[in-house]
């Protein structure tokens, strides 16, 4: 029983990590209708940039002879992500307005390739341990009293995710820009006609998802180092997305939790019978099963089709 509980909690926390990535997808999809495959690479890129600002072995240290404190490094990385967002809008999206979704999707895969190559060329492709002083190891209190092994980092990630979702929700509901974002998400043309600048909105949205990617990059980077495989977490986030619905922020969170728990429980209780290592596809199958009953995902907007 205790073991089951530990499995479920670990699963829930892993699910939070998936949600962090999925959140970035949802933001961009809501506001610009672009399915941004490059989100995983964004996380990788942000992690690499952050590493270079704050670590002894990074570029920044080589150029100026000192490293930035962590908080300044995070701000500087955020600056980098805003520049990336602006460049993406300026060089890619602006020219692809009104194209079919699949074309935009392919463009983001091209973007993923480009940024991956760029990241490797600029920062090198070896594994970089990211250490910004986040807590590590098991939670002593739970380990001593209940014999539960729970990573501190994952608890921390869950708290950060909760704060981030709250902040995003307030940002979307209460601020002027948030209202504009929701207007654009509802209808591009109508938003344009009441004087909302699509271009500005897109830059903002891509920056926000760059920020989400930075948080995801920090969390995953602290967990397993910054390396190429970080860009593959996008593939982990996709089933979360279709399960929760492309257009729903709560969907990304709940989807992540379901996938996280389902994956861990299945791996431990069903995995040994069919050969193990089923984590790769189980999430997809789970999401597929859900989709057969709700084709728009759990929280997605109902798809209404007219002739």
């Amino acid at each position: 029983m205790l073991f089951f509980l530990e499995t479920v909690i670990t699963g829930l926390l892993a699910g939070v990590m998936y949600s962090l990535v999925a959140l970035g997808f949802v933001l961009i999809f809501k506001a610009s209708g672009v399915f941004n495959f490059a989100q995983g690479v964004f996380a990788l890129f942000a992690g690499l940039a952050l590493y270079d600002f704050i670590a002894e072995g990074g570029w920044f240290h080589d150029l100026f002879g000192f490293v930035l404190p962590v908080w300044l490094g995070i701000i500087a990385t955020m600056g980098v992500m805003v520049i990336v967002a602006w460049l993406v809008e300026r060089l890619v999206l602006r020219h692809l307005v009104n194209q079919e979704p699949i074309i935009l999707f392919m463009a983001t895969i091209g973007l993923a390739y480009f940024m991956e190559g760029l990241g490797d060329t600029l920062f090198g492709s070896d594994v970089k341990p990211l250490n910004i002083g986040l807590p590590n190891g098991a939670v002593d209190f739970l380990l001593d009293n209940y014999n539960l092994y729970i990573e501190k980092l994952e608890i921390f990630a869950a708290v950060v995710a909760a704060i981030m979702v709250t902040v995003l929700a307030i940002f979307f509901q209460k601020t002027r820009i948030g209202r504009a974002l929701r207007a654009v998400a509802d209808d591009h043309q109508a938003a344009l006609s009441v004087g909302i600048s699509l271009r500005t909105i897109w830059v903002i949205v891509w920056s926000v998802s760059g920020f989400v990617a930075l948080v995801a990059g920090i969390m995953w980077g602290s967990k397993s180092g910054i390396q190429f495989s970080l860009s593959l977490i996008a593939l982990k986030a996709l089933p979360v997305l279709i399960l929760g619905g492309f257009t729903s922020v709560p969907g990304a969170i709940v989807g992540g939790l379901i996938i996280g728990v389902g994956e861990k429980v299945a791996e431990i209780y069903a995995g040994p019978f069919i050969g193990g290592a089923i984590e790769n596809w189980f999430a997809y199958m789970l999401a597929l099963a859900f989709l057969l009953f709700r084709p728009q995902g759990l929280f997605g907007e109902k798809i209404i089709e007219r002739v």
Partner: protein, 358 residues
């Protein structure tokens, strides 16, 4: 828009509906085929066959398959790598279990088996649409690769988990295995791809192809005018998987010779074929060939230029190559979202009016 050349009159419906209604097109295609079958084999080397020609043909075949599904029927699929794996493992099992079977029969049977698997994974498409479907097909990708990794029966319990193509002959010529000559392998692939392309070209302009296109353009409207989505979508999945299965079969047996599922059939394989289709042009058989040529030649050219021309280290060159490829893809999508096939059509249009553009 002119659809017919001046001076070429059609007096019967048959002539009007020919595969290549324009005389120049016909001559061009026959000349191209003649060169490919009769001239190229004399100049072929081991390197050019392996790295360029067979490589190109295999991906052209896979791209035709994906183009039928995505370009003609509008169902985005990211499971291509997994379906190619099905074709490859079917070939391996068939050729080791039945050593006497003709390789052509094996390739066709592999396609058939893949078609069956494709229909299974196509079933959700009846309810799930768009990107939801694209992500759902990833389930096929990951599940199939996992299956071929885990179940020993598929790779005959070989300790490494690799599958190696046994040497097989067609009409007395050795096709697979390390001893096969490049010319024979090239001609074998070329023949299969040629026949497959002709069949595809005729399929997509027949009843089946029109059903697919109607579903692509708007499936509800198509349903209202009496096209059965079940049949149309599943037949697209079946035909598409059949082609992809044959491509996987050739990919493994003729081109690579040996394969290991996690590396050879990973998700980037699926993306690669999807890139070919998009860059070549959605809904165009010609486009599949143009796209395959582009995606095969550009990386090789880039690598040659950087490593041999500028003396880059191979590792760094790989990163720059990935980056350049990404940039080129974006550039192409911006300049011509309808792909190389559209560029070719524009060129034809211009030639038609030359030298009086107005």
């Amino acid at each position: 828009m002119f659809y017919r050349e001046a001076g070429q009159f059609k007096t019967s419906y048959r002539a009007d509906e020919a595969t290549f209604p324009i005389l120049q097109d016909k001559i061009f295609v026959y000349a191209f085929l003649a060169v490919a079958f009769l001239v190229v084999p004399f100049f072929i080397t081991d390197y050019s066959a392996n790295a360029i020609l067979v490589h190109f043909l295999v991906y052209a075949l896979a791209a035709i398959g994906l183009n039928i599904l995505t370009g003609y029927c509008g169902q985005v699929s990211l499971g291509t790598g997994g379906f190619m794996a099905v074709g490859a493992y079917a070939t391996y099992k068939l050729s080791t279990e039945f050593p006497g079977l003709n390789l052509i029969v094996i390739v066709l049977l592999s396609g058939g088996i893949t078609a069956f698997v494709g229909v299974m994974f196509g079933l959700p498409s009846l309810r799930i649409k768009g990107f939801y479907l694209a992500v759902a097909t990833l389930a096929a990708q990951f599940f199939l690769v996992w299956l071929f990794n885990k179940v020993g029966w598929f790779f005959n319990y070989s300790p490494t988990g690799m599958i190696v193509a046994p040497p097989r002959e067609v009409f007395g010529f050795l096709i697979t295995g390390p001893e096969a000559s490049p010319v024979v392998r090239y001609l074998f692939c070329l023949s299969i791809v040629t026949v497959a392309a002709i069949v595809a070209k005729n399929l997509v302009r027949g009843r089946l192809g029109r059903n697919w296109m109607a579903i692509r353009d708007m499936d509800i409207a198509a349903e209202l005018i009496g096209i059965r989505p079940l049949q149309a979508k599943l037949s697209a999945f079946a035909v598409s998987s059949f082609y992809i299965g044959m491509a996987g079969s050739l990919y493994f047996a003729v081109w690579l010779g040996s394969a290991e599922p996690t590396e050879a059939f990973d998700i980037f394989q699926s993306f690669f074929v999807l890139f070919i289709v998009i860059i070549g042009g959605l809904g165009s058989i010609l486009g599949s060939f143009l796209g395959a040529a582009f995606m095969v030649l550009v990386p090789i050219t880039l690598k040659t230029i950087m490593v041999d021309g500028f003396g880059f280290a191979v590792g760094a060159a790989k990163h720059v190559e990935v980056m350049t490829l990404g940039a080129l893809i974006i550039f192409f999508l911006i300049v011509e979202p309808h792909g190389l096939a559209r560029l070719w059509a524009i060129l034809k249009e211009k030639l038609r009016r030359w030298p009086f553009p107005y």
